[in-house]
Amino acid sequence: MGSISLRTIAIATVAVLAAGFGLAFFYAPEDADQGFIQKIFYLHVPLAICALLGFIVAAIHAIRHLRTGDPIHDARSYVSIHLSVIFGVGVLLTGAIWARGSWGVWWEWREPTLVSFLIVFLLYATYYPLRYAIEDRDRQARYASVFAITAGAFVPLNFLAVRLAEPLIHPRTFSSAGGLPAEMMLAFLVCLVGMGLLWVTLVRFELGAKAASADLGRIRRALQGDGAPPAPAPSVAPVGVSATSAMSAGSAERSREGAPPGATRFRKKAS
């Protein structure tokens, strides 16, 4: 991953996402049950999968951080969670729009898929207050890693629990016999790869910005000759605080209504 330049991966992201959305709108057939509104599927589901996988990636980086003590893994874990929370906002918003159009409601509290995703999202939303409530940088990184591992383990468990639960109205697309028709599956897979590339691009972009901020802080301290040992880069600066100023100050861096549960599989509209 490190050998491919950010520019290359960004161009690939735009190309694959454009191809995926193109396939979704112009190649994949309309769903016989839901009609045109099912096109949200090609955006909503890849966003959700990438957000959840991102939380697991953050947990893996957190394990590596606790094992090695290298702050780069803490920074990667932080950025992975940050991007996955942003993707999570996208999942909740696009899901609410789809629910309104398809089921006539913005939200359904009795549906385990929706509520469980909200729980995971809110769980990760507490990562920031937890992290920045601790001033000591090493302790902050360690506690954040422990949180990322615990919450990361909760993600697959939560997914499994939702799969085992009885669905109310939310589709269980990939568990249905037969799954998606080939054209829909192709469009979906291209969108999924595109969304994965977008996640990787944004993670690398943010990590690059954080590394630059940390390097600037080190240079400033060296130029001002305050004698403080150089901070390892990249590190995580507090939200809303200039990394350079923070570091130079010696502070811590930072239903369809009534639809039957069986009506969950997407199928081609008969022409």
Partner: protein, 63 residues
């Protein structure tokens, strides 16, 4: 019902709305990151000035 909601009371409107929300989210993120990069650029300029100060003072004292 507000006119905006009336306008999106069809499948095309909902699909367009969902993709627009995604685009807006992406744009907001990119705008925030652009602001951060501008700050880094400004800090870099300050540091360049700081780095040049000793040389300038040496030049002044040399005269």
């Amino acid at each position: 019902m507000p006119p905006l909601l009336l306008a999106i009371e069809d499948a095309e409107g909902y699909v367009g709305g969902a993709y627009l929300v995604f685009l807006l989210l992406l744009l907001v993120y990119v705008a925030i990151m652009a602001a951060k990069l501008q700050r880094i650029q400004r800090d870099l300029g300050e540091l360049a000035e700081l780095a040049e100060q000793p040389r300038r003072s040496e030049e002044v004292s040399g005269r």
